[in-house]
Amino acid sequence: MQRLTRSSARQREEETRPSLPSTNQNSSKRRKQSTENTVTATGNDQVSSDKVAKRTPEEPSNPTTAGTKPSASNSSQQPEQVQNQESDVEISEIPESDVSYFGYCSDDGGEVQSNSKVATETSCMDEQARRRQQQEDTEEVAELLGVENSVATLLLRSVAWNKEDLLSRYMEDAEKVCAAAGVANPAAVSLAMLSAQVSDRECSICRLDGPLAFSALSCGHSYCDCCWKRFLSLKVEEGETRIVCPEPSCSLQVPENIVRQLCDRETFEKYSAYVENAFVDESKTCVWCPYPNCGLSVGTTDSSSKFIICAQRHSFCVECRSEAHAPAQCDQVIEWLKKCDDDSETFNWLSANTQDCPKCQSTIEKNGGCNHMTCRKCKHEFCWVCLGLWQSHTDYYSCNRFDPDKVKASEDGKAKSRAALDRYLHYYHRYMNHERSRKLEEQIRDKAVLKMEELQKKEPQRLWGDVQFVGEATEKLCKCRVVLKWTYVFAHALEDSSSQKNLFCFLQEDLERNTERLSELLESEVENLLKAEVKSEVLALAAVATQSRLKLLQGVEEGLVA
């Protein structure tokens, strides 16, 4: 535990130096890779925000508050930053010998570690890094086996780019590996293109007589260069990346450099691009980002989580390829989405964007992410979700819970199926609601930026940085929203009234309350947000909400409730 804490503190130290985004002197190779390759270290974001959350003065019950205060004063030369998220810096300033002093912190470190496994998305290898890795693997295999790079590529492709697997199998039975890859054995001769001018021979494809230049792979099936070129070009045009010798009984594959040698540049470039895509398709170490029109590939090997994030910041689940859906499980998500699809008619009705004010029955449309509704007409304040009085809501926030007793009360012959539907609608309603809220909230940042532009015209002394925290807080808010959304799918799968569910609902309630508070605050006017006290409240709330989020995810991960 201590080791972890120390190294993560060091890690944080690096990350908080903006001018040094990646220091490559780390000892562990994996770490090196991730600093080099990550585009945005979301996982680490989480770490720092969590850290802030733990140390927020607004949480008097938090045991860390006392422990971390001295460290905060250590860096009092940067009071502005203490307020801000850079408070991590202080942690790294604590000598390592003091680690034991962070009794709670090491737990915290552990918590963050475990959280990053399931809860948080890990950003991984991006396109460039992937290409580099591909190149490195190819070169290594070529060198070890004494073959050309393009033959190494063929060999690697035959085993889904699993280098270690290839090498061990090759050592065992080279002949078998070569046959499977469509490479001549020994692989070194695969490229022996026999090229000769044969004047008196007829090419068996075009049936033209010589003098013609003939070429053949090491299998000896020889065709004129013109036919080769037409053959390869057509195959490339068809998107084929595993081109085999034209002889029907032959399974030898055409290596990349032959394509380069015999085709024009344009065709070869196309071919290379296809082969590169094939790497992602075939390799088990990376996947395509499933978001529409994204087209980026993301490596999965350096991820400890099944949720990963691409360079465009789309986060998704490697296994089921849907949005990152913690705390819900893949099978729950698949079942849920299918159900949502099947019952789409009901949802059309359900997801109508209006509700009637419970007091004056005016039709109300939700225009922000916050659930605290105020009827413009009668000024009645109520909760968008349960339509209950908002006043009675804040302390006894039970609208996230489905109460089976309520349903039992409506006893009639069809009670059971009706109850199942009610139950489902309960969760669906809340699931959709968080999804919609998130979409609306994603605009908060843009709105803030627009507003800032306006303000800057009036008051040129305003700085862009002043509004920066809105974006950061919004991002945290949206993360909470996504988790909240999926908590309802998870809860739907849990048995009602079980102790697990009660515990889960408690955590959910906590997250929901903090998220709503943050949402409400962030929706206020930009002028208001720029006030120092509001800003610090936003930061504190964002931290608290993040903490709630991580607590919930950790709870699920540790099986407390699952």
């Binding site: 494809i205 075009c206 036919c227 057509l234 034209p246 029907p248």
Partner: protein
């Protein structure tokens, strides 16, 4: 005949050989106004439900031939799990297994072999394939009936 004057040497040679040494049970002759279009006739193989039948097919060599496969279609109605109502044929060498080293002759021989050995596990005509798997005797009887009814030259 202007188009035919540019006919690739490969097609000319193949045509010559098809005419001079026809494969047993197979005849293929180019159409007069388009030398890339062949009228084909395949005799139903002996000991198959198609025995005694004469099957007409059309074969067209696309511009990319021999890099691309010829297009072949049955004109005579046939009850076969790998041949559909429109006469289209499910045969690997006509699709992804095509190789420029194959020829018209090999294609037609493969089709002839397909008549001898229907493959209901890789069906094109689902209903016929189903029948074939459920009650082969009945399917064979239907195929024979169709041969008698539609494939008498």
């Amino acid at each position: 005949m202007a188009a035919n004057s540019q006919l690739p040497r490969r097609i000319i040679k193949e045509t010559q050989r098809l005419l001079s040494e026809p494969a047993p049970g197979i005849s293929a002759s180019p159409s007069e106004d388009n030398l890339r279009y062949f009228n084909v006739m395949i005799l139903g193989p002996t000991q198959s439900p198609y025995e005694g039948g004469v099957y007409k097919l059309e074969l067209f060599l696309p511009e990319e031939y021999p890099m691309a496969a010829p297009k072949v279609r049955f004109l005579t109605k046939i009850y076969h799990p790998n041949i559909d109502k429109l006469g289209r044929i499910c045969l690997d060498i006509l699709k992804d297994k095509w190789s420029p080293a194959l020829q018209i002759r090999t294609v037609l021989l493969s089709i002839q072999a397909l008549l001898s050995a229907p493959n209901p596990d890789d069906p094109l005509a689902e209903d016929i394939a189903k029948q074939w798997k459920e009650d082969e005797a009945k399917a064979v009887a239907t195929a024979k009936e169709w041969t008698r009814q539609y494939a008498q030259g």
